[in-house]
Amino acid sequence: MANLTIDGRPIEIEDGATILQAARQAGLTIPTLCHHPVLEPYAACRVCMVEASFKGKNELVTACNTVAQSGMEILTSSERALKARRLNVEMLLARAPAAEPVRRLAEELGIDHPRFPVGDPEEKCILCGLCVRACEQIVGASAISFLDRGTERVVSTPFGEESEACIGCTACAYFCPTGAITVEDAHGRTVLHDEMVLGPATAIRVPSRQAVPMVPFIDKEACIHFKTGACQVCAKVCDRGAVDYAQEDKVREVEVGSIILATGFETFDPRRIPAYGYGRYPNILTAMEFERLVNASGPTGGKVLLADGGEPRAVGIIHCVGSRDENYHEYCSRVCCMYSLKFAHLLKEKTKAAIYDFYIDMRCFGKGYEEFYHRLLKEGTHFIRGRVSEITPLALTEKEEGKLIIRVEDTLLGAVRRIPVDMAILAVGLEPGLDHNRLAKTFNISCSQDTFFLERHPKLAPVASFSDGIFLAGTCQGPKDIPDTVAQAGAAAAEALALADLGHVELEPITAVIDDTLCSGCRICIGLCPFTAIALDKEKGISVVNDALCKGCGTCVAACPSGASYQKHFRDEQIFAEIEGLLQPET
């Protein structure tokens, strides 16, 4: 431990810490421009000058890279320290008059104009080297460095050319204290919608705000550490030391008594309907993207903006994209009508835009849903009944210029209409997830015609599957809204609990039995049984069925050459009698 005083206050700090760290620990402020806690100190800006008295010597030192030692007496705002700081800030101001933090510091220190000749009045770079250090120490790319010397010194890539070492991580811009480095779209456009990914885009993140467990994970694809081996900033700032880069994905086998499948859905990809122009024209959004856009934590802070940053004056919401369409999915996705109405309501609330809602049928089936629809009718949303045929930027009149034109047959008017809007929202339908078929194979689940998982019975067993102990919940079984999903999930959980509570498994009484007086021990049945439920009793030389393993398919019964094997409730005689009964001559 080192004991020193700063501005007369006694401070104890661990060995090796700098004067700046000691001051910050004591809650004292020493101004600095080139310091960042995760980077090595560099002492480039020289704004953190303090007066240090130690072992009879008195000198000016930079606080950021001078190690605090016992017996030091530090003065952060002595006349001598302030004079030096003022001079340094004055020189920085002459070099980079447009740098906001420098101007703020200059104002604080009472500097109006630098006495030195001012170079470029637009210059922002103060050559603090934060970007260069970040690129080297954090990114491990060393794509930028200082070029030239003295007054000619600049930060740039080697020879000022496009650098192959740059991985485009934008860490340099993030660390730049003066905004001298900016990240721009190659075409100079305002980038709004392109960054509308769901969730934050940092490499270490919590998957969603409702995530269970609520812990962050590292996206190895995006993490700089896994690309270059450097960085490790998250480990440095984590007080608990919880970040572990050596962790690997683990496959764990868990034995369970029952399984509930709640694997959910994917949204329909509107690129499959080329006439709707999604992905080709700007301002055509899917429902999920719009949801992100109006979200207060979204890229625009919840403002509904167009790709160029303007406010929309007309918005079209198109229902049934991919649903109720023989070319894609014949079924109704059930949730789109209601979320579309919600969007219309939000748009009314947040913008002055005219809202056009293109629907086939309004399906407001739930509690309070119809009432909500009526509220929207009163709010002045324009409801147009008819399927949209096309969304195109091709204008026919001057009024349509620069707009997206929605072509639709208005079936209530009996006319084809062209409605120019600034933004189109596609209410995409629900479809089974990408690995749906693989899951169906894994769990031996049948799928219904709409390719969702098939329940055992539509009315009597809506949460059970055809496999015992496997239950279905939510949209993997068919499109449904949140209340229905919660209800089905509750039922599935109760069914699973009922099995667990019972403590034993009830089997169908249809197992195969082998008559030991008839069995010749030929072992044909043993080879046929898919469940290895039949074994040879070596002493007696006959086959024996294990009741707990037998599922009652009857394959062994059909194959037994001596008729020794029979299936309870499906005995040969019983089926023969059925055949005779069915084929009795009509009287």
Partner: protein, 145 residues
């Protein structure tokens, strides 16, 4: 004279998990299909003993249908493959008895294929109707002799 059209008597062995459920679906969906197919439920198409088929023909059936899950979908993993093997073998036996192979059919109908079950029934009935009654003893009394 305008004789009544021949109504074949057909027996269908349907597996419990796919085809029987599919037939159930055809029913709940109100899909009308030829009533000629009389259904016997078995747990698996692999349960269908060749004797059942022979017995059905003996009792006067004009055709026999076995219907199970699609390959790979069997509730008992591979019962439908066994049915497929037995069907192939049995066809050869039936030919020796003078029973046309068109009278014995194997189909895959899944639990969601109500319309397919309807089509299979209609199709098979039409096919057997074309063949006429099964004449096993050669004197036209093959049906319920």
């Amino acid at each position: 004279m305008n004789p009544e059209p021949f109504e074949p008597r057909l027996v269908g062995f349907l597996c419990n998990w796919c085809s029987y459920t599919g037939a159930d679906l055809a029913g709940t969906a109100r899909l009308a299909y030829a009533p000629n197919v009389r259904i016997i439920r078995v747990m698996c198409s692999g349960r269908v003993d060749p004797q059942f088929v022979l017995k059905a023909f003996k009792e006067g059936a004009d055709g026999v249908l076995i219907s199970g899950c699609h390959p790979g979908d069997c509730h008992y993993q591979e019962g439908n493959y066994k049915a497929l093997r037995r069907h192939r073998l049995l066809l050869r036996v039936l030919e020796q008895f003078g029973i046309e192979k068109e009278r014995f059919r194997l189909e895959w109908v899944s639990a969601s294929e109500g319309p397919k079950f309807q089509q299979v029934c209609n199709d098979f009935t039409a096919q057997v109707r074309k063949l006429g009654p099964l004449n096993l003893d050669g004197n036209g009394g093959g049906r319920h002799a």
